[in-house]
Symmetry: C2
Subunit: 680 residues, 2 copies
């Protein structure tokens, strides 16, 4: 292993240190008046209560799977699995701690210090999550690879990725159901039935709604990117460990020996991740200088700066390792395509497509829905072509190993990408708190601006998460085939003319559809429970709807209902993803399982893009009408009502079903990778 790879855990601890300092800096900011503190406290408690109950359920799952792994695969894999799960949990806890502190402080800064400082606090709150994800990933993978550092034992580390993936799927599905059940439930009764504004303190569901932003977009997204990051590194190492024959010699420069080339191939993934963390720290640091320019440009430049620094370091790194220089192009293709997909996603949820859907709203809800679905379907084309371009360049440069490296290239700067992404829900919360605490229109204007930017960063982040999930899943898939081959001693031919592979393709392709149906139905059910509860409170608590002084909503009950419903509903989709590959592998064999992974990856990526972008475009079409950007339309017109229908349909699309897809495809692949030794 290279020096950097050895150092990576230390680098990870350093990153965690910076995250802690950032957290302290956020916490030391003023947290407003008593009312704000009270609201902030509710959100904090609601978020933590959800995580605690979620983790309690997941603990059972982790123990069961640990025992199964220790029994059937290897105890080392089991230990790695538990560690991967724990690191994901820790990242989620750290990030949530920071996010639920930063929200109220962002409101206060918007009141006292203006936009620049408010932006910085929200960003810093997100940066704690971003740095925790990257640092814990480096620490965990680095330590395990330090222990299991030869091609024989490195397979135990796969358990780490599986642990991270399992937690991620439950967190994403559970968080996604929570956030949308709370959102849709509160809106249906509050905004539509009772006619009170969004985030009105009289609405009993409003705290749950704000908690939902955190558990969905902070904890859920963090777990998602954590597992992509870890999965990409581990997959690339696994491919590096098993690359053989001509592919192997092709990757080395003439001057290096075979054994040093092998260790370089296994070290490079961690090295690339390590320099990515350094570059992310640079980007995060640069926000202090950038905060004076417009928030949108500040976030964008910070991301670009980190990417440029990362590519520069990567160039030097590849140069020094004795691997062919073409490998750099694999790194670069991943990094650039990741940013490119984000920009494409941004286009489809703004500009002309939004205009098209907003205008379609003028002929009613049906045309709004049709045009939004059409935008979503169409928006798959360019991102998929971009992913294919990355695959083409990376595999041309370095074969399958290149695809793994491209995945890391995309994810290495996750520290900054995740920071920008987690900024969104914090700004959203800050807006909600400003409204609930009655901070006035001036403050609301700043937080609205930051929130609206958060929608853009969320769209970019979703595109990025999908792109990285695709490459990670492919890399894990390659690692799976090589693991089976190594065990069998003969090539694993996942040939599309093999009927079992065809069956695998079809069944795999159907699973994302099934999971999407399950999660969307779950949101409907959970939202229904919220609706009943909020209606009950408006009916039974005297003076609540009229806003009398002593009448207080029982927000904790709503939080409780959402939590229970989300946790109940996450179980079937989560288990499906874990059990399906195992079943397929045991019943029809490794070839069918390979087909299943390929099918699930293709439809998973497509459904993820479709749902994310359709949801985004509906959301923004509604906002465009509300901002009176469409001639003759404004809040309350028929077109606006039609656009609200689209927005409501888009909610479970973009925040529940869509994000589940990313993890689904990675989790299925990593489960296959872990059970590969049993399928020989």
């Amino acid at each position: 292993m290279g020096v950097l790879a050895y150092l990576s855990p230390y680098l990870g601890f350093m990153g965690l240190g910076v995250a802690f300092l950032t957290y302290l800096a956020v916490q030391n900011r003023p947290d407003g008046d008593e009312k704000m503190q009270e609201i902030g406290g509710y959100i904090y408690e609601g978020g933590m209560a959800f995580l605690k109950r979620e983790y309690r359920i997941l603990a059972i799952f982790i123990v069961v799977v640990f025992l199964l792994l220790a029994w059937k695969v290897a105890w080392q894999t089991g230990v790695a699995f538990v560690s991967g799960g724990l690191c994901s949990v820790l990242a989620g806890l750290f990030g949530m701690q920071a996010a639920t502190k930063a929200n109220v402080r962002t409101s206060q800064a918007a009141k006292d210090q203006g936009e620049g400082e408010a932006l910085l606090i929200a960003f810093d709150g997100g940066a704690v999550m971003g740095l925790s994800v990257a640092s814990l990933g480096l620490i965990g993978v680095g330590i395990f690879l330090g222990i299991f550092n030869d091609p024989e034992t490195s397979k135990y580390v796969n358990g780490f990725a599986m642990g991270a993936s399992s937690i991620a799927l439950f967190a994403r599905v559970g968080g996604g159901i929570y956030t949308k059940a709370a959102d849709v439930g509160s809106d249906l009764v509050g905004k539509i039935e009772a006619g009170i504004p969004e985030d009105d303190p009289r609405n009993p569901g409003v705290i749950a709604d704000n908690v939902g932003d955190n558990v969905g977009d902070v904890a859920g997204m963090g777990a998602d990117l954590f597992e992509s990051y870890v999965g990409a590194i581990i997959a690339a190492i696994a491919i590096g460990a098993t690359v053989s024959g001509s592919a192997f010699t092709d990757l080395g420069q003439s001057k290096v020996t075979a054994s040093s080339l092998r260790s370089s191939l296994m070290a490079l993934p961690l090295d690339v991740a390590a320099i990515g963390l350094i570059a992310s720290l640079m980007g995060i640091g640069s926000m202090r200088a950038l905060k004076t320019i417009s928030p949108q440009l500040a976030l964008r430049y910070a991301t670009y700066l980190a990417a440029v620094a990362f590519l520069f370091f990567a160039l030097i790194l590849v140069w020094g390792l004795g691997i062919v220089h073409a490998v750099f192009w694999a790194v670069a293709s991943g990094c650039i395509v990741g940013i490119g997909i984000g920009r494409i996603t941004e286009y489809y949820t703004s500009a002309a497509p939004v205009n098209r859907v907003a205008h379609a709203s003028q002929t009613g809800a049906a045309t709004n829905i049709i045009s939004g679905l059409a935008v979503g379907l169409e928006s798959c084309v360019l991102p998929v072509l971009a992913i294919c371009l990355a695959i083409f360049i990376a595999s041309y440069a370095a074969g399958l190993y290149g695809i793994g490296i491209a995945g890391i290239g995309m994810l290495a700067t996750v520290g900054i990408t995740m920071s920008v992404d987690a900024y969104g829900p914090i700004a959203d919360n800050a807006g909600g708190i400003s409204e609930m605490a009655g901070l006035g229109p001036e403050v609301r204007k700043i937080t609205d601006g930051l929130d609206s930017l958060g929608n853009t960063t969320a769209a970019i982040g979703k595109g990025f998460a999908i792109g990285s999930a695709a490459l990670t899943a492919l890399a894990l898939f390659s690692a799976f085939t090589q693991a089976v081959e190594q065990g069998r001693g003969t090539p694993l031919q996942i040939v599309v003319t093999n009927p079992y592979v065809v069956i695998g393709l079809f069944v795999g392709g159907t699973i994302p559809f099934f999971i999407a149906a399950l999660t969307m139905t779950a949101v409907g059910r959970a939202a229904g429970l919220m609706v009943e509860e909020i209606r009950r409170q408006f009916r039974e608590i005297p003076g609540l709807l009229e806003g009398l002084a002593g009448a207080r909503p029982e927000t904790a009950r709503c939080v409780d209902i959402c939590t229970a419903a989300a946790l109940r509903e996450m179980i079937v989709p989560g288990l499906t993803a874990v059990v399906a590959p195992v079943l397929m592998g045991y019943v029809l064999g490794a070839e069918a399982l390979g087909g299943m992974l390929a099918g699930a990856t293709v439809t998973g990526v497509l459904l993820a893009l479709m749902t994310a972008n359709a949801g985004g475009v509906w959301d923004n079409a509604k906002k465009a009408i509300e901002k009176e950007e469409i001639p003759g339309e404004k809040k309350g017109t028929e077109a606006h009502k039609a656009a609200v229908v689209g927005d409501t349909v888009g909610d479970p699309f973009k925040d529940t079903a869509g994000p589940s897809m990313n993890i689904l495809i990675k989790l299925m692949s990593v489960v296959a990778l872990v059970i590969a030794p049993l399928l020989v």
Copy 2:
């Protein structure tokens, strides 16, 4: 070739003769009073005008492709291509002639003779289409295989399938856009803006709407099933011609020689199709006896009777040919799974799912849409598993050849399946004519009953079309790989770990999404033109809306607008499907093209199922509310309005985007098969 295979063209001519006699029988029925004759005449002329203009555009396409094929592939392939296109056109013309005569006569019979006779006429009208499809398929394929009957030259026959497919895609996409543009446009202005009933003679779009039912569901569906039928036969023959090695000997019984086994393998597909036609004739004939029981059971029993007779003949056939008897299981698996998928589709567009969506309408349009989409997504699971079961049994019984045979097993009784399917739009038209001609509530009740049954048969037919398309595409895909292998002399390994195959999978998987987006947007645009024209007529023609005696709508202009728009909009999706496989094959090679076909088949089948069933469930949820089957709800309530939104969204789903998918995946595969010799 076997005796039956030699006889198949004659059998086809016989079938065509029966179709002609059926047509005469329909035509000799009384066609009502002057008003009915006039309306019937408009629909007839509108439908024929559309077909003529469509075929004129397609003639250019056919000539260009013929020249390209003759230049690059072989002139024989080019001739077969033109013949395949012509047979599809003829089937469309025959079917449309009969359907547009049967509609008005069904109305008249409902008035004079009651339900049983009305059912019989509508069914007979559909049977002309059903028999034309099956007979022309047998004639065309039979003649070409009679000429090119050895393994060397049989590849020219692939052109026939390509011709059928090309016409089918344009007919399906064009017809689908036409029917929904007319439907949505007429409803938006007539039912919603002007508040007049559906099929009201004052509505200028109402003739176009009735024409649309014919061009979409008769001509479009006919072309679709014609190409599945032809494609399945040709693919199975192509596989039979190239089966080699152990797979070859595995298929023969010990007593037969290699050369007689080869000719049996090549004859069986045509033989199976031939007995299927005989069985279909028996089923169609049985309707005369069955018409006295309920219409639903009559149609179902006629289908089952044909299936049972077919399986009995198939058993005898396989017994006699010297092929292993297991091949019979391949035939049976296709036949039974085809019926099974139809029943699953029927469940998802009736019963509990409809109830679920209808209840979701009570909380608004958004929940109606979400629950309908969830039903659509979920409804993919069982049909895909059924298809996988057929693949498993068929390939277990007879390898890849078995999959081809299973496809024919599903399609052999297309004569009766298509008849039942084409019955639907005729009954729908009869209802419209009864309303326009003011035949009174008694007649309307009969035609409404027949129409509502037509919705069920349409749902079953769609499921069947998707299932058969999946098997046909797979068989064509296998034939493609074997054609490339034969040309290269080495195996074509479409291995999922090859990056080019991965790129192919992703790009292929995206194409159905892209085509769905294109067609759905096209419906919106075309419907917009209709809305403008109908509004203009209501505004400018004095007394039209009030129903004054002299005021007549200019229905021909609406027919014209729909025709022009549909033909304009069908070009891009059609060309995409033809050009994409050629481009992929030339740029990235046969492996990538193989991946592309696999990807497109998986997502195409899934999207087809999803859109068809979501559309069906929305439609029926609205009808359930209108029939007051949901407590407290009826026409005009808020829940009904919400359900109308879902129904409108479902229209382009189930009648435009969805049906295009079937043909898309077959066309792409058959194009690949035809250009296979160029990719070696």
